[in-house]
């Protein structure tokens, strides 16, 4: 059983009187420790695919299974309970400090403040932005913002990380570092699913897929991959 499984998932959008099929019976399986990149042009549906895979949006047809359970069954809330999801947002509130941002989700779930602070600090160190912890979120550049967004999900110990366009808006020379961070997260055993509009992550992913006209192309299952992920190979997995 794969960690995440999309079974013949379809999703429609309406534009005025028109009904547009954004995903056409897309199937996809991802195992623990895999980094999977989905390339697509703008408006190809890549963000929709990721939102559906993370359980943020329900599919109009088909099933999304996480650890064998249907993500869209009533009462299922995998977001924050095994799945972390990041997407680019335009403009961030500038008032709160980075460490407060990362702690916020934990505090909302009743984690004691000192414990939340400590977990947030560790997550910021893990993604390489610990020196920014006291800065206001609005002071960060795009690469730092993405790292902090990843830290916000890491504090919950996700087994699957879904990141929509991790290198969007990131300076050319900083993109490699973001991809290498994602690679190291996958090497530590987390399944990582990313969308890609600029090709940054395609070569370092275990599997690269393309999405166009609603169709997902490429090796959609780990069995079809030529690269065996560490978790599947039984190799020693260590956090980088």
């Amino acid at each position: 059983m794969s960690l995440l499984e999309l079974r013949r998932v379809s999703r429609f959008h309406t534009r005025g009187s028109r009904r547009v099929e954004v995903l056409r019976e897309a199937s996809l399986e991802i195992d623990a420790g895999e980094l999977v990149a989905v390339w697509g042009l703008r408006r190809s549906g890549r963000s929709t695919l990721l939102a559906v895979a993370a359980g943020v949006d329900p599919p109009d047809a088909g099933e999304v299974l996480f650890e064998g359970a249907d993500l869209n069954a009533r009462g299922t809330t995998a977001l924050g309970n095994g799945i972390g999801y990041c997407r680019p947002i335009a403009g961030r509130p500038g008032g709160r400090s980075v460490i407060e941002d990362v702690c916020a989700g934990l505090l909302a779930r009743g984690v004691p403040p000192l414990d939340a602070q400590s977990r947030a600090q560790r997550a910021l160190e893990r993604v390489g932005v610990e020196p920014c912890s006291e800065l206001a979120s609005g002071e960060l550049d795009a690469a730092e913002t993405m790292r902090v967004a990843i830290a916000c999900t890491l504090v919950f110990g996700p087994r699957l990380l879904v990141i929509d366009e991790p290198t969007k808006g990131v300076d050319l020379l900083d993109r490699d570092e973001i991809i290498l961070l994602l690679r190291s997260l996958a090497n530590s055993g987390i399944a990582v699913l990313v969308s890609d509009g600029d090709g940054s992550g395609l070569s370092d992913a275990d599997r690269s897929l393309s999405l166009a006209g609603g169709l997902l192309r490429g090796k959609t299952s780990p069995e079809l991959s030529t690269v065996v992920p560490l978790a599947r190979a039984g190799g020693r997995i260590t956090a980088a």
Binding site: W39, L41, D176, I179, L180, D196, G197, D198, G199, S200, L202, S203, D204, R207, S208, L209, S210, A212, G213, R217, G218, K219, T226, V227
Partner: protein, 213 residues
Amino acid sequence: MQAESDYSFALMGGRVKSERSLPMRSTVNWTVLGLVIEHSSYGFELWKRYEREYGDMAPNVSGSNIYAALNVLKDKGLIEERVETRKAPDGAARLRKSHYRATQEGLVAYEGWVIAQAREHDRRSRQFARQLGAFERQPQIALAILERYGQACLDDKDARIPTTAQFPSPVTPELGDQLASAYGREVKAATLGWIEYARRKFEALASKETPLP
């Protein structure tokens, strides 16, 4: 700048007057010249660097190929050799070691060759795109080719980001490795975009196809 004009003359196929002005076609020779420009060095080190940086693209190049290339480059005045002599550890004999560095003429020639290579690469890519147009009346064949090409493009791992972990200590990724990998990633995204464009064109043609009577 006399050197540059002499060299250009040879490249353009002008009348050959001397060995020095004969055009150099061997990719190995040009690659070795690039390595010498990158770091002036000794024959053995250049050979090892060739294997590490270009071994995957141009395998089966032996040490004698590298020394032959160095001789050609020296004869053409593109590099110069400095022989160093040292006492052997036993003090009995003297060791001779050749150190190579690029000349100004070599630098200018290499610059011209690199640009010519990039143009040739572009020309071949456009040629492939044009040749696919031959399937205008058989769009299904073109779509099958595009499917396979797209899959190969997605599966290609050659443009991985070079990391220190991939290189034996104390060697770190060279600038050339980083540039090659970044180029590969940018080209991959552009190629996937082009494949999608071509696919839509041929799908449109396929939808208009009428069955043979």
